[in-house]
Assembly symmetry: C2
Homo-oligomer: 638 residues x 2
């Protein structure tokens, strides 16, 4: 195996190079097939479709009534009704019936009087009155659909109506996805449980679904180990049966990244690294005249490089140009620095606050799939920019629809699992509404509310002086009446300890024990304030606690420090213990409120949310079932 | 069979009544099933999905490098590098590898120097530097997706990543479509050819595709004859196996409309007529506690009543609220009167002209499926309005996307099949661009151009005085330089006669023959002007021609008058003869130009179009293959 190093390419250049090479390879393939119109939905026409027959292909009645010759009816009037003999001068026709030869108008049944074997008519008819003439809808030889048109239900109707029963369409490109990685296991294997270093292989499911959504035909291959020969063979085999091959992971430059070398040995390596973030380790080449894409393993990198490189290839195969994503202009709520020379793609949440779209970045890590799950839109900071200043406008590419964004309540602040249950309860009662949360801590949330980036904020800030929750902080940062506080829950804070509590920790007093190593939360956090208050009340000198000076930044990192043996105990909420299956010693309860921008209180979506908080019994029960929560004050305005 | 007449209901009332009854019927059904996440794409969650494991579920390296304990590295500096023994204080890790227990940071491979069995470090590390901590992406117990959420590829990824391998989803509602009509034949039967009064049954294909697109599971039943008992049986059988039944056609009040009576006998008729246009004969009821919808037979009525009544039921079954269609505000280009008390749905073409969206109505007939095929949007004139004035603004519901509309060249004017070929050639070369035509005649087209409703206009107006085409008219209506004329083709006008020319007509001179019946075009039409010029040149007195005073309004209606024996001959273009398989005697050629708003000449889309007209050989050949066209002046500016 020979390691290959090409220059990292700029995005546009890389995309163009790959598309050009793939396009010329596709041109040599027979990419069309003929199918029944009835099974052609969503396929792409491979040639224009022309009407074979006119529709209607005979003059037919547009009404229930009598077919007549309009020239016979000139003399008809209310004063002197005209009599026409049925079966001779007039024939009964239902809607859709053909007119007898030579007949060219229809008088509606409700406009005639039947007198013996005659009908009486009171008004002259005009030529083709109440008649669907030949070709009224479709004229034979006219074009129903051009080439490269995505066939919609109504197009199928028009094709059939005009006698086109088969249609030549573009074949779906076969896209084979090869997951690689020795540590990967299939979802089926994971049913028995997981142990490190196993990772559930899910990228191939995401990628294949995206292929199918775009009109491709995905094939998911079995997982291939990190072995050069095995990967090489898998790529070669796939290149024989596919139009596009995607290798997932193994595209970096680590000791087990073999894709570039494999492509290089089997064919030609075109791209080995692109100056984008995330997604830099993307590689691509041609094997057997088929494009082979090395998509990075981090899920966000995989998602973004698929959109940038695989999607255009699928469109090109189908004869289409990708539609531009829907764009809106939003106000960016934070400074976002970005290195020059790199196209950076930042997932953002978008809220409509005071009739403006506000885009707030979500954590940027390439490993954070949830940042895509939670994103409303993608913001691209181009290579020639050093970033975007807070308050400036930017174009963003929508992931969720505008109407979904308009119907979303944006919650930024401290996270609590209750918010998840609240989001769900909202969806159950109002499927059109969404509650979407970003987790930045209580203080960050209040600041976001202040900057109009959010509609509501989850907060649990203890004021040391007064012992009050949230109110002193709201009073400090907001003008009176600007924000309303509504209590969601009281929740338990406590000491997280290993399962079975092997060191027999009973409470705060034990923290000074010599055999215990503690881990703390950062200064200013609600949990730190709560701990310090508890220590003061018990007259415990914090500096006697081993590890008091070691700080973590989230409940979960405290819990995982306990789990992995970095320490014996730390303070966090009950749900963090549950999440990692650890034991929990309750110490105190704290009030978790929702701060709401007051002027939104009467909007439909906030009213719906408050109604659930105040009156939805099943929501309340679901919260209580989680454990560690007291819902007795739920919905009270503070 | 007892005929039932209920009051015609207003739209909102009818929609609400049906939805309410269907919703309470659906509530009694088990509408959920559990599926593998990998096959859950686009399905709707039936309960919230909570993470089973954290992801990552162990601390893992985010880089290729060495795992260390950050506390060991405090003293490292460029001046005094720190040495750590590999296999004891430092362990090599690839990206994704778990950290050894007690290790909590990773130094990147490129930042160390390997010295024997030690690594040299030049900077202290921070806690968890280059480490993906437990739950960094997903925390066990956190909500991945709420209930009633449409599962996207990234959601599937997040579910699998967090150990959710199965997901409870809403079942797809089974929607059975029963086509009824004695005259209907299947597309397969139509392969052998069509004869009156046969009609190819296509509505069920359109309706079932729409069902499937919305996430339902459509079943297309065989065609049922217009027979009360057979229709009743078909409805009953379908109600046993379906969640929703759709009967197509037979919903009016004609002699063969049995659906209402059948529903009434089998269950309860709720709706028998709705005050909408088109779609008034819509009916609905409950049979076996299943909603049964009688959708009218006219294709536009079928399309609109499906959207208004069937779509909300499918969403309701799935636990969803239909998303509002994307709306834009457009300037309405024509007066549109609409009766009070009726909600009218008008298909419109939308063009971006001078940065404004202009909506132009397409013919309103309920039988014109092509009016839906060609529509960009739907304009609703509510029941409490008498219509919309030209020049006023209206909200329209988009059928095509905004980006498609932005990329569309709007052509209003005289129709010629060459425009279809041009539209296709444009699609072949520029898949993102579209040429969309509305047919209102040359003069109507020039007026549309004048009112900025169109970008280009097809025109063939002969000036009697000068014998010139188009130029005198453009000079009359536009200021100099406002419009550019580009020749598309010269096309043949001639006499259309029955196949085989049974009366042996040779030319204009024969029109005065006693045994011939002629049919004329309306005064002011280009064809009438051309005929009169030819008569004058031959000194023929028009009033000696039998039928000279009978006028038709289109080429196709002249041709169909010949086909159906109303007359022996009439003047029209060659393609009208081809469309109805008639014979043609060429008389003269006329110039067919495209008038283009001058200020658009350099826009991308018009340039692309002109490039095809001027330089695309295969387009030119396709036009010539149609016959009756001379392309020698194609692309010349007049």
């Amino acid at each position: 195996m020979k390691q290959i190093f090409l220059d990292v390419l700029p995005l546009e250049k890389a995309a163009q190079l790959l598309l050009m090479r793939a396009a010329s390879a596709f041109e040599g393939l027979d990419r069309t097939e003929t199918v029944d119109v009835a099974s052609s939905g969503s396929l792409i026409t491979a040639e224009p479709v022309f009407a074979r027959y006119s529709s209607p292909f005979y003059h037919s009645s547009a009404m229930d009534g009598y077919a007549v010759k309009f020239a016979d009816t000139f003399s008809a009037s209310e004063a002197v009704p005209l009599h026409l003999t049925t079966g001779k001068d007039a024939f009964y026709v239902d809607t859709g019936d053909p007119l007898p030869e030579g007949f060219n108008a229809v008088v509606m049944i409700e406009d005639v009087n039947i007198v013996g074997d005659c009908i009486e008519i009171y008004q002259p008819l005009t030529p083709y009155q109440n008649v669907r003439t030949i070709g009224e809808d479709i004229v034979s030889t006219e074009m129903i659909a051009p080439m490269h048109h995505r066939i919609r239900p109504v197009d199928m109707g028009a094709m059939l109506a005009s006698g086109c029963l088969k249609v030549k369409v573009q074949k779906k490109p076969v896209v084979t996805i090869i997951p690689t990685g020795t540590e990967l296991i299939t979802p089926q294997q994971a049913e028995k449980g997981l142990k490190a270093p196993e990772i559930i292989e899910y990228n191939s499911v995401v990628l294949s679904s995206m292929v199918d959504e775009l009109g491709g035909l995905s094939v998911r291959n079995p997982i291939v180990k990190d072995d050069f020969e095995e990967i090489k063979n898998a790529i070669y085999e796939a290149s024989l049966t596919s139009d596009i091959v995607i290798v997932n992971a193994g595209s970096g430059r680590g000791s087990e990244d073999f894709t570039a070398a494999a492509i290089n040995e089997l064919g030609e390596l075109l791209i080995n690294g692109v100056s984008i973030k995330p997604g830099k380790p993307f590689i691509a080449g041609m094997v057997n005249n088929k494009p082979v894409l090395g998509i990075p393993g981090y899920p966000v990198s995989a998602y973004i490089t698929f959109q940038l490189f695989a999607r255009p290839l699928i469109y090109k195969y189908l004869g289409l140009t990708p539609e531009d994503p829907d764009q809106i202009t939003a106000i960016v709520s934070r400074n976002m620095a970005s290195p020059m020379g790199v196209d950076e793609f930042i997932r953002v949440k978008v809220g409509v606050v005071k009739d403006k779209y506000v885009a707030t970045p979500i954590s940027r890590g390439a490993g954070l799939l949830m940042s895509v799950v939670r994103a409303d839109a993608m913001l691209r900071i181009p290579a020639d920019s050093e970033g975007i200043k807070a308050g400036s406008e930017a174009k963003i590419d929508l992931i969720n629809s505008i109407s979904k964004i308009n119907n979303t309540i944006v919650c930024i602040g401290s996270h609590d699992n209750t918010l998840d249950l609240l989001a769900n309860a909202l969806k159950v009662k109002h499927p059109e509404l969404s509650l979407s949360s970003a987790h930045v801590g209580s203080m960050g949330g209040l600041m976001a509310l202040k900057r109009s980036e959010a509609h509501i904020c989850g907060t649990h800030l203890l004021d040391e002086e007064t012992g009050q929750y949230n109110v002193p902080y709201v009073n400090k940062f907001f003008t009176p009446g600007e924000v309303v506080l509504v209590t969601l829950v009281h929740r338990q804070q406590g000491l997280i300890v290993k399962k079975g509590n092997p060191k027999g920790i009973k409470g705060i007093e034990d923290l000074v024990r010599d055999d215990l190593l503690f881990i703390n939360r950062q200064q200013g956090s609600g949990t730190r304030l709560l701990l310090d208050k508890n220590l003061r009340e018990r007259n415990i000198n914090p500096y006697l606690i081993k590890g008091y000076d070691r700080e973590e930044y989230t409940h979960m990192s405290v819990a995982s420090a306990v789990l992995t043996g970095l320490c014996d105990t730390g303070m966090a909420i009950y749900s963090a213990a549950v999440a990692l299956d650890l034991a929990f010693i309750p110490i105190a309860t704290e009030r978790y409120d929702i701060a709401i921008t007051a002027e939104l209180l009467n909007t439909e979506k906030i009213s719906a949310l408050l109604d659930i908080i105040r009156n939805d019994k099943s929501f309340r029960e679901a919260v209580e079932r989680m454990g560690g929560y007291d819902t007795s004050s739920m919905g009270e305005t503070v």
